[in-house]
Symmetry: C2
């Protein structure tokens, strides 16, 4: 009886997962190969498929099956596929039916409108032209949250969208601790002499850069027989199936760091997705569990591994051979210093490891103030600049490099979109620390260009589970504790303390 | 009232068209960029979307709306979008509901099985290993036709699938006339001295070949802002929207003809699709009307234009500049002769203009005999070889180059799949003759590299209508008569009579 209902539900869910995979293919194509005039129809086609997936998923028959299967779910429990899938599905179904389709349409129309206005506003450095639209975004964001009455904080329903299990209050607590540690440390580093970086800006042909990056991510363990890399304006990772996980990158011929580190970053996301259990393929569980945990793995590979001295002990001689000019005459140590240069930048996406979380925390604090009505949209540019002064000791000269820099608020809700980046930083260090505690030889393996030990540990403890467990569960399972800033702060102080001799 | 029903139906049909466009994107990606291991999941995703599109289209609510709209359809008539769309939809709906979903599943499973067996059988030259499966294909083909009782010939329901408005009897009549003209003419040409073609087999780098081909099809009028060209194993054209019509090609570095002529061929299909009225975008009418008319346009551009002396008067000097070796020392006339060499080949896809239809007619005659039970599958290899002797005067040495050469019978029904190629040849000449009768300057324009006159005539008389009219209607509309072999025979005799001095 339960088995029959379960099979019926499974068939429905697989259909939804297949439609969602198709949407991802359409989106990937739109970002890579679509001809210039093909975009209008593509938008319509993706909207049709999204509507279909939503209709199929939020159909009352799904709810009835879930009700029927309540005791089956409990009996199986989250350690078995069936129990985990039912738990995940129930949670998302309950969310899905709370939001009226009418609102989704209204919100999506507004997002298209403000996105369009933002692309012009940023170019023209004209915040006032998007201000009324951003006020509407704030109203719509509040409306969204209010479909989930009973929250502790109005940002909680937004945070749950991408970081289920986290709440505004707990994140705020972590971020306050982090700020207290990071701001003075960052300040100390800035007082030290700047490393030379000019050799990173030598002209290097795009093809040769991509070829080098490809070899690197192959060594890390990104499987090209189950993926591929293409060029896009903004790098991303996307998954169509367990055996089709693609990444994209961009190349700047005068900035060596761009393609290489974005390739490693996206390969980190992709190895997480390629590492999920085969049993989960084609189901909702076949995806990383949260924005924060996902980002932790891209950051782990990009920064903790990819910007480490051990890593470059192995790869720098290869880089010198691949690009004799300029690297032949650069020492490993100077190179290592250059790729880890700390600076008071204004732009989040260009930030170094130490200041990145500060950029994120500025945004999180502003979102919170806006949602709590402590701050109006009209005041936002001014307060943005003040927060930059407070967190990073620097003040934007214009809104283009200030409040207008990120797409997030101009294409989605004001809230729930940034915290994952910092949770990612925090957990990247925590999970790496757990891996090296279990396998102390990891740093020596990295020096030899061997990454299997680390990747297998991450696969066994994090990747294989996909969305079987929530973020807090997977953090506990893999590290034995809750999310903590300690390993992250220790890591930064150890690494940058040495680098900057403070 | 009618308007309301019409709008309701339109919404449903647009949804189906969007799902079908998504399937095309998934298929294109599968043929171009999918990673090696991505195919299994892709097959499942495409099957899910196909099932969805079929369910949505054959839903009884569609039938009810069509019934409600019967007098609205008549009132509007096929000259108006609404009337034409309703006529087209009704026809396809009535077909769709006649075939049980159970049969479709069974047939599709069988097709996967025989396709798989064929890829091995062809490699091993082992017809006997697919014979029982091909017997099952024949039984399934008959079953398919029998879901459409009342046909004149058992092949008619199959022919209707791709060439609606044509029947086995009328095609047989055309093909008999054609055979009577072509066989002796082909024979005469074969007795003449062979042109030299060795320079066509000089090594030319793939990139340079593609660059030249791209310039050519751009000149013809293929719009790259609404399309793109990629590499695949088998060249094809696919449409995702009016503004996204893509082509693919393949390159052989030792055979100049391959990439260039397949590019022109697919660009011919694509210009048809890019030329449909904007009003039709996103609807069922936004596609060429039949396999035969479609093929007529790819052949018109590939052969009547692309292998003409006028065309090469303009392009040969450019080719000589692009590839000094080998073309610098080749005369226009020798080049023109080489690309039009007639030969007694065994392989349909490599055939010249004169013999191509003979290859097709062999298959059509065999399909007819199989369906009429005049021939058994067991006898097929032997009779295949006899027919080649009869039509082309040549006999295959093995089944690999004989009955096993084409994928069609090993991946679909035995019938309805080949006639379009010859109808295409026939109508390519007939439509070109109509265009030049209306615009006698076309050949002179071609000599100057100007193709707007021809393309605009074709757009105005054929392309813009998409599937608004059936093939017989569009033939009458554009040429004033029915399909006739006369212009095709005149064209071949004139061109090849001169070339071979007969």
């Amino acid at each position: 009886m339960a088995q029959e209902a379960y099979d019926e539900l499974l068939t429905k869910l697989k259909e939804v997962a297949d439609i969602e995979a198709a949407i991802s293919v359409l989106h990937w194509d739109q970002s890579t190969y679509i001809p210039p005039k093909g975009n209008a129809a593509r938008g319509r086609q993706m909207a049709t498929l999204s509507k279909l997936a939503h209709e199929k998923f939020s159909d009352p028959s799904v709810g009835k099956l879930l009700d029927k299967l309540a005791s089956f779910e409990e009996e199986k429990g989250p350690d078995q596929f069936e129990g985990a899938l039912l738990r995940y599905t129930r949670r998302h179904y309950e969310r899905a039916i709370k939001i009226p389709a009418e609102f989704m349409g209204r919100f999506s129309d507004h997002c298209s409108k403000i996105y369009d206005a933002w692309t012009r506003a940023r170019q023209d450095n004209d915040f006032s032209s998007v201000q009324p639209l951003l006020e509407e975004s704030l109203r719509l964001t509040r409306e969204f949250s209010n479909y989930f009455p009973g929250y502790d904080h109005i940002a909680d329903p937004l945070i749950e969208e991408s970081d289920y299990g986290m709440k505004a209050a707990s994140i705020q607590k972590l971020f306050s601790e982090l700020k207290e540690e990071l701001v003075p440390f960052f300040d100390k580093l800035l007082k030290r002499p700047e490393p030379t970086t000019d050799f990173l800006n030598t002209f290097l042909p795009a093809d040769a850069q991509l070829a080098f990056g490809k070899k690197v991510i192959q060594s890390l363990g990104y499987d090209f027989s189950r993926g591929r890399q293409d060029l896009t304006h903004h790098p991303f990772m996307t998954k169509f199936a367990l055996d089709d996980v693609r990444i994209t990158t961009r190349v700047r011929e005068n900035d060596f760091s761009e393609a290489l580190f974005s390739s490693i970053h996206e390969a980190g996301h992709a190895m997480y997705e390629q590492g999920v259990k085969r049993e989960f393929d084609g189901s909702f569980l076949c995806h990383g569990t949260s924005a924060g945990v996902h980002e932790s793995q891209s950051r782990l590979w990009e920064n903790i591994v990819g910007r480490s001295l051990s890593f470059w002990k192995y790869f720098f001689p290869k880089l010198q051979k691949h690009f004799p000019n300029p690297f032949e005459n650069v020492s490993l140590n100077d190179f290592y210093k250059a790729i880890n240069k700390v600076s008071q930048g204004l732009i989040r996406t260009d930030a170094d490891e130490v200041s990145y979380s500060l950029h994120v925390m500025v945004r999180f604090s502003l979102e919170k103030d806006l949602l709590e009505s402590k701050l109006s949209v009209a005041q936002l540019p001014k307060i943005w600049n003040e927060r930059y002064e407070e967190y990073l000791g620097v003040r934007p000269n214009d809104d283009k490099d200030g409040v207008l820099q990120d797409v997030h608020w101009y294409s989605g809700p004001i809230g729930g979109q940034f915290q994952g980046y910092s949770i990612g930083n925090i957990f990247s260090a925590q999970s790496f620390a757990a891996a090296t505690a279990a396998l102390p030889s990891i740093p020596q393996e990295i020096e030899k260009g061997e990454f299997d030990g680390l990747r297998n540990w991450l696969t066994n403890n994090i990747y294989q589970y996909g969305s079987q467990y929530t973020a807090p569960e997977i953090i506990k399972k893999s590290t034995g504790g809750d999310l903590s800033i300690r390993p992250y702060i220790d890591y930064l102080k150890e690494k940058f303390g040495k680098l900057y001799e403070v």
